[in-house]
Symmetry: C2
Subunit: 296 residues, 2 copies
């Protein structure tokens, strides 16, 4: 399997699904739809919806009920970036080589577009109740979507990130907390929702959540490593930015060698979790391995 080619194909398919759930740009409030769609279409790996779909497939899921959730999790991920980029937060004018949402639409519209995307994520996910009104797993999936994105998940991680930056008091404990919640929680959400909606057993759900947690952590550490070891050309964004911004990362605490070893260890852990299942999805396993050996 040429994993890069396979991933490219999945990204195209996934973007088609996400796009089908984006709002029409119309009405007096047209500009908010434009700002939302601009933000979602600005690109990205589409990692969360792909992981969700592949986990769903892994456990034999075959219905369209997964699609609104795929779109929803990408909207949540996108809103978090839109708000992170705001002047009062990271104050970024560019992301992935494109102007950030507030840089194009103004600060007030940047705040509202983030709010609108978060709200629209739940509006989109709740379309699943029309598809399968009697399916009680849809309610469970809604609970997971909300919990992992909130104060016990992503927003909780963002909070500690901002506080630690303001205080200039990062500790290893805080860094683990941030990585686990800010990055890990949405990846757990993706894989857990896929498992739940496909009817995985409780034990299988637990295993997938654990695997996802390892993947999330490894993914974030790899980000830190690439900022030290990669080049601006390969990465498509300036390297060395963490050091320049005085940012304490996993590499700061663990050193480069241990960081690399931990990425390998965490990946093996996730892969062996997957291998312990009766069901198989070769692409998903290869994707996990690729994610963490990636060079950008």
């Amino acid at each position: 399997m040429d994993i890069r080619e396979e991933i490219k194909k999945r990204v195209v398919e996934t973007e088609k699904i996400i796009d089908s759930f984006l709002p029409k740009e119309e009405g007096l409030q047209k500009q908010i739809m434009e700002a939302m769609n601009y933000s979602v279409r600005a690109g990205g790996k589409r990692l969360r919806p792909i992981l969700m779909f592949e986990t769903y497939r892994l456990f034999g899921g075959k219905s369209k009920v997964i699609e609104p959730f795929m779109a929803a999790i990408e909207m949540i991920h996108t809103y978090s970036l839109v708000h992170d980029d705001l002047p009062a937060m990271d104050n970024d004018e560019y992301r992935r080589g494109k102007k950030t949402t507030h840089a194009v639409f103004g600060e007030a519209m940047g705040i509202l577009a983030g709010d609108a995307l978060l709200n629209y994520a739940f509006e989109t996910a709740s379309q699943a109740f029309d598809l399968e009104p009697e399916n009680i797993k849809v309610g469970k999936a809604m609970q997971i979507l909300a919990k992992k994105a909130g104060i016990y998940g992503m927003v909780g991680g963002q909070t500690v990130d901002i506080l630690a930056e303001n205080d200039n008091e990062m500790t290893e404990e805080k860094l683990h907390f941030i990585y686990h919640l800010k990055t890990g929680a949405l990846i757990e959400s993706a894989m857990l929702i896929g498992a739940v909606l496909a009817g995985a057993t409780k034990n299988e759900q637990k295993l997938m959540e654990k695997a996802a947690s390892s993947v999330g952590l490894a993914f974030q550490i790899q980000d830190d490593i690439l900022d030290v070891t990669s080049t601006t050309e390969v990465l498509g964004k300036p390297v060395g930015s963490d050091e320049k911004n005085n940012k304490t990362t996993y590499v700061t605490f663990a050193g480069l060698e241990k960081a690399k070893n931990d990425v390998s260890r965490l990946t093996e852990l996730a892969v062996s979790d997957m291998d312990s299942l009766v069901v198989k999805n070769e692409f998903l396993t290869e994707l996990l391995k690729y994610l963490i050996s990636r060079e950008k």
Copy 2:
């Protein structure tokens, strides 16, 4: 019935319910919970959860399944105020005599607290799936909650409000749109969710949505009137602020007399909608009349 005394009692009961759903202030991310709880506890009329509960009672609802939705709609209302008060939006340091959330916790935490409240609203509402997993009306209620708060509801209204202010181009059409969506949509959401969860028929649901729309519009026009006719002592906030801020209101277009007449007409419309039902809730009818004859 002494409506003021009755309302006071309901506010106390409603605040007890809302409070029971607020997050514990704990963990490394404790500050975000503090900011959320500070915002929700800062006071207010608790109008939306009360209208929801009374509509639920009107149609014979008796289960606790309504409670997470009562808390959720107040969280959504609160997040919208927290973000409205931000420096990039209305830039208000005080609300109801208390420091606004960003004034206490900083701008970044103000943005995050709003995000956290919006997300937590759906997290809270989705607890209803644990209470009644087989009840397909809970899924319907989630759909209404999301839709009325989003780009086709409250956020849509906020968008047009901000755009019209920036352009300095308010028209009567835009003003109606803003009032209908920014204020009206959450009141419709409250009464519609109450009706749906209690098992009201489609026709009853439509009627309640229509009545709620009249109430929302009348409520907002009354706000404009009070800004002209009341005193700072009675209102508890500076009067004449709309004129001072060059804000175009309903009174600007319609004049004071027509505005007052429209409030009466809309109230009568809502009350006659309620009277046309077989079921009755005397307190709800009195509450609607009071709301629009209120002096603050």
